[in-house]
């Protein structure tokens, strides 16, 4: 049958070059780079936990994502903190083309890997699947709509940006799943007397007191399965059809100095280069620079060596002498074999009118989204409680890329991705606090540290707690707690309880009690400590709601009113912070 294949063939190649020129050719290096960046991506997410954080740049991938930097620059007119690192991807793209998509992007790697794994097509089908289709224009519409929205002040790129999407997916689905696996396997191991530390690496939230849960994880999971599953239909479906970052880099690729060039005198139009073309960039005809992922698979597949990666190759169409159809064409003296004279298409194939249509949709989109009730001062949802250090809501929506890094790092699991109820479609998957799940730990400012765009400004502990130089401004308030006296045990049920007052972490406490001794219905005497709020002291940390024993719907609950970041949502006169931007 087949001769036994060795892993590495150490004989020199047929053209005389040594064996390592083949084994370590550029596609091998590319695969190594993909594995490298994917591994770092997973590692940086795994290390986003207070016990492991150290000084690791955990939001690095989001920071080098040039679309994040560009879109936030459009919406906020500034480049926050580390977002200048987007230049590390921007400049190579301008020089080499869409290298990011196939060398660095972890989402692209995921799609490519799954697609490769489940590929059962024969060569002919592969070739057909990798031809360019008009639907690939769609990502440019998505990009245009989102950039226009950003210019108006509603940042929505996070919905489909691949890095944001993948970080969000890991945070809400894969990591809790691996935590669950680690807990269960660890318990089984401990019961059998094995050392359960061996499995601790599997958990991304070790020593968390409870299994982490996230709102709407089912939808995010469905989305990832759907998008990755679409690779069965169209290879690299997301990258080719939906990815706004790909569209952005594709549009910039028109300036790229290097590109894949097809030698007309060698190309036999066999179309084998399409077999594994990742970008569906038509290398067999006019290369679409905006679609080419610089994966170099075509070079590997071409049996005639007709393809190469050239520095600003001169367009040769005009230099052909003779007629191709008659077979008399020559190019610089050599006979032209290929029947297709075009070699390059620089721009994305999006007609101008369609660009304008997309932009109009973007312009309309802004008022459609913003004028929904959820994000305005009138009728805003009290459950939209943002993390400490967040900027005011309109600015927040200009900055939040829904990456969910803050949700990932939060040690108490209080941060949750918002559904449609808390801040509308505009705020989908932005972080809000759900105090039935956790509470905001007093001495923690980790969310502000990992936010790449400054939706949650980097906040020192002194600023959060109102210490030292911030003593006059006071602590950051997330909201105010309210009592539902009809559900409170001492108020409505003759039952002593004072848990909320005990756990209130501020000093002096924001919960006081009216102490009253009563005779219960059964004749016993009890001392009831009936709690009341001191709104000028409450910082809205939510530990009272979390610890309240009425767990189905707590008798003390926090709402966003009174939050210090927002003038419109203050509760008490004079409680507005003077210096919010410090």
């Amino acid at each position: 049958m087949m001769a036994p294949v060795r892993w590495v063939n150490l004989k020199p190649n047929r053209d005389g070059t040594p064996w390592y020129a083949r084994t370590f050719r550029i596609t091998s290096i590319r695969i190594a780079a993909q594995v490298f960046f994917f591994a770092w991506f997973v590692f940086l997410l795994w290390t986003t936990w207070f016990g492991r954080l150290g000084g690791y740049p955990v939001s690095l991938f989001l920071e080098v994502d040039p679309l994040v930097g560009f879109a936030t620059a459009l919406s906020t007119h500034s480049v926050y903190r580390w977002l200048w690192r987007g230049l590390f991807v921007l400049v190579p793209t301008l020089v080499l083309g869409r290298v990011f998509c196939n060398w660095m992007c972890p989402y692209g790697t995921l799609h490519q890997f799954i697609g490769w794994l489940v590929n059962i097509r024969a060569n002919k089908d592969n070739i057909d699947k990798n031809r360019y289709r008009p639907i690939f224009q769609f990502k440019y519409y998505v990009l245009a709509i989102m950039l226009v929205l950003a210019a108006f002040g509603s940042l929505q790129i996070g919905l489909l940006d691949p890095i944001c999407l993948l970080v969000r997916t890991f945070t809400t689905t894969f990591q809790p799943a691996s935590d669950l696996a680690a807990t269960q396997i660890g318990a089984m191991m401990a019961e059998r007397g094995l050392d359960s530390r061996w499995i601790a690496w599997l958990s991304s939230a070790p020593a968390a007191s409870e299994q982490r849960v996230f709102n709407g994880a089912w939808f995010v999971g469905l989305l990832i399965i759907g998008l990755v599953g679409m690779n069965l239909v169209i290879p690299r479906f997301f990258c080719r059809v939906l990815c706004p970052l790909g569209a952005f880099l594709g549009w910039l690729s028109r300036f790229a100095l290097w590109r894949i060039d097809r030698d007309l005198t060698k190309c036999t139009d066999c179309n084998l280069c399409l077999k594994h073309c990742e970008g569906a960039a038509d290398p067999q005809a006019a290369l679409r620079k905006s679609e080419c992922f610089v994966c170099f698979n075509c070079i590997d597949d071409c049996p005639e060596d007709a393809l190469s990666f050239k520095l600003t190759p001169v367009p040769v169409h005009a230099r052909i002498v003779g007629k191709i159809k008659e077979g008399t064409a020559t190019l610089f003296g050599r006979r032209v074999i290929s029947k297709i004279p075009e070699t390059v298409v620089a721009r994305p194939a999006v007609p101008r009118r369609r660009w304008i249509l997309a932009m109009v949709v973007g312009v309309l989109g802004y008022p459609f989204l913003r004028l929904s009730r959820a994000v305005n001062t009138r009728g805003f949802s009290g459950k939209c409680i943002r993390p400490p250090g967040s900027v005011m809501e309109p600015e927040f929506l200009e900055r939040c890329i829904k990456c969910d890094m803050c949700i990932n790092v939060c040690p108490t699991n209080v941060l949750q991705p918002a559904g449609l109820a808390e801040s509308g479609l505009e705020g989908l998957w932005t972080p809000i606090m759900d105090f039935s799940v956790g509470f905001c730990q007093l001495n923690c400012t980790l969310c502000s540290e990992v936010c790449p765009t400054g939706a949650i400004q980097k906040t020192s502990l002194e600023r959060k707690l109102g210490l030292k130089e911030y003593a006059e401004a006071g602590p950051i308030r997330l909201g105010t707690a309210f009592f539902d006296q009809g559900r409170c045990l001492p108020w409505a049920m003759e039952t002593p309880c004072v848990v909320c007052e005990e756990v209130c972490p501020v000093s002096p406490k924001a919960i006081g009690t009216y102490d009253e001794e009563i005779t219960r219905w059964d004749g016993t005497k009890v001392l009831l400590n009936k709690p009341y709020m001191r709104p000028e002291l409450c910082i809205g940390c939510g530990i009272c709601e979390r610890e309240c024993p009425v767990v189905d719907s707590a008798a003390v609950y926090v709402t966003a009113v009174g939050e210090s970041r927002s003038k419109d949502r203050s509760l008490l006169l004079g409680s507005v912070q003077q210096d919010q931007k410090t």
Binding site: T183, A190, E191, R192, G193, A207, A208, S209, E210
Partner: protein, 353 residues
């Protein structure tokens, strides 16, 4: 069967073979069908106690069983309290003293077998340096761990749930370093490590959060507690030491501290206990703070009877003489958890160096 004019005599044979083949296929399939049907029928209908039967007539079988955790019946004690002895070692060379005291109650090999997982429970309750006498002497702990490993234990676990930050308490008291140096494994408590323990018959702690994780797979438990004055219960020694295995809101315990200590003795029957009398915090306990509150005791006591060891410590090390024992002694003795009259136990005293 009437033969068709087109048929040849060979066809009969072919047909017979064909039918044979059909029969074989039929038999195979029928066998599979019968087997599957029988299996399904068995699982559904065979009486519940029979192997591989899944029958559940009244729904009881499928009900989730609530998980109650219990310590092994009889605890980790190997011999009955009636056979308890007291081993007292006096001197200043701690490893020799410890060896002497344990030899005096029968030797470590009597209690620890090769391959055992042994849990050692020191007192690391406070963030105080060892000289202040509020925690177990790290040298005593180190010597104990070494002895246990010599006896062939597979793993030694050093466990305590301090009230303050566990890391700081373990480090400041020197216990962490002592454990690391002797290759014992320290278990620092984390919220997920606690499970509700059922102690049937206890007054206050019948169901209470217990530091469960390090107890999984443990064969032997050894307590090693310092001798301390205590302003609430008047003395804190080996019986009160088990307080550090509980979680939850322990500050409620002061409402009936003597009842609680009796419950602790009821909850935990150790393999044996070591009373660390190298330093004695004879006043201002349990936190102390003044070096003048600490006196050199130069004694190590070992016994399988915690009450006897504590009573000895009360009289001899805290030098309370004829003062009445704290209430918890009587409460625990009434439940048969030990003999506070240590004179009644065979005592061997060893003088070392």
């Amino acid at each position: 069967m009437a033969s068709h004019p087109c048929e040849e005599p060979d066809d009969v044979q072919a047909r017979a073979e064909h039918r044979a083949i059909e029969r074989r296929t039929f038999l195979k399939q029928a066998g599979a069908v019968a087997g599957l049907a029988a299996a399904a029928g068995w699982a559904a209908l065979a009486p519940a106690r029979w192997p591989l039967s899944l029958r559940d007539r009244d729904g009881e079988r499928a009900k989730p069983k609530p998980r109650t955790l219990n310590l092994p019946a009889g605890g980790f004690a190997l011999e009955s309290l009636a056979a308890a002895k007291l081993g007292v070692a006096r001197g200043t060379d701690i490893p020799k003293m410890l060896r002497g005291a344990i030899e005096a109650i029968g030797g470590l090999n009597r209690f620890v077998r090769t391959g055992d997982v042994v849990l050692v429970k020191p007192n690391v309750a406070f963030e105080r340096p060892a000289v202040l006498g509020a925690t177990t002497n790290p040298e005593v702990l180190a010597a104990l761990v070494q002895l246990v490993y010599e006896a062939g234990a597979k793993e030694v676990r050093v466990v305590d749930n301090p009230i303050e930050s566990p890391e700081s308490c373990f480090h400041r008291s020197g216990i962490y370093q002592a454990a690391v140096d002797t290759k014992a494994r320290v278990y620092l408590p984390v919220s997920g490590d606690f499970e509700t323990l059922n102690v049937a018959g206890a007054t206050w702690i019948e169901n209470w959060p217990f530091f469960w994780r390090p107890f999984q797979g443990v064969d032997k438990v050894i307590g090693v507690a310092p001798v301390k004055d205590h302003n609430l219960c008047r003395a804190s020694m080996t019986t009160k030491n088990w307080y550090g295995l509980l979680g939850g809101r322990r500050n409620q315990f002061h409402q009936d501290i003597h009842g609680i200590i009796a419950d602790l003795a009821f909850m935990m029957r150790p393999t044996f206990v070591v009373l660390d009398g190298t330093r004695v915090l004879h006043r201002c306990g349990p936190t102390g703070g003044n070096l003048s509150d600490v006196r050199e005791g130069r004694t190590i006591v070992a016994s399988t009877d915690s009450l006897a060891a504590d009573a000895f410590g009360w009289q001899d090390l805290l030098q309370r003489g004829d003062e009445a024992l704290p209430n918890y002694f009587a409460l625990a003795a009434a439940r048969g958890l030990g003999n506070p009259d240590w004179h009644a136990l065979p005592l061997r005293e060893v003088r070392v160096g």
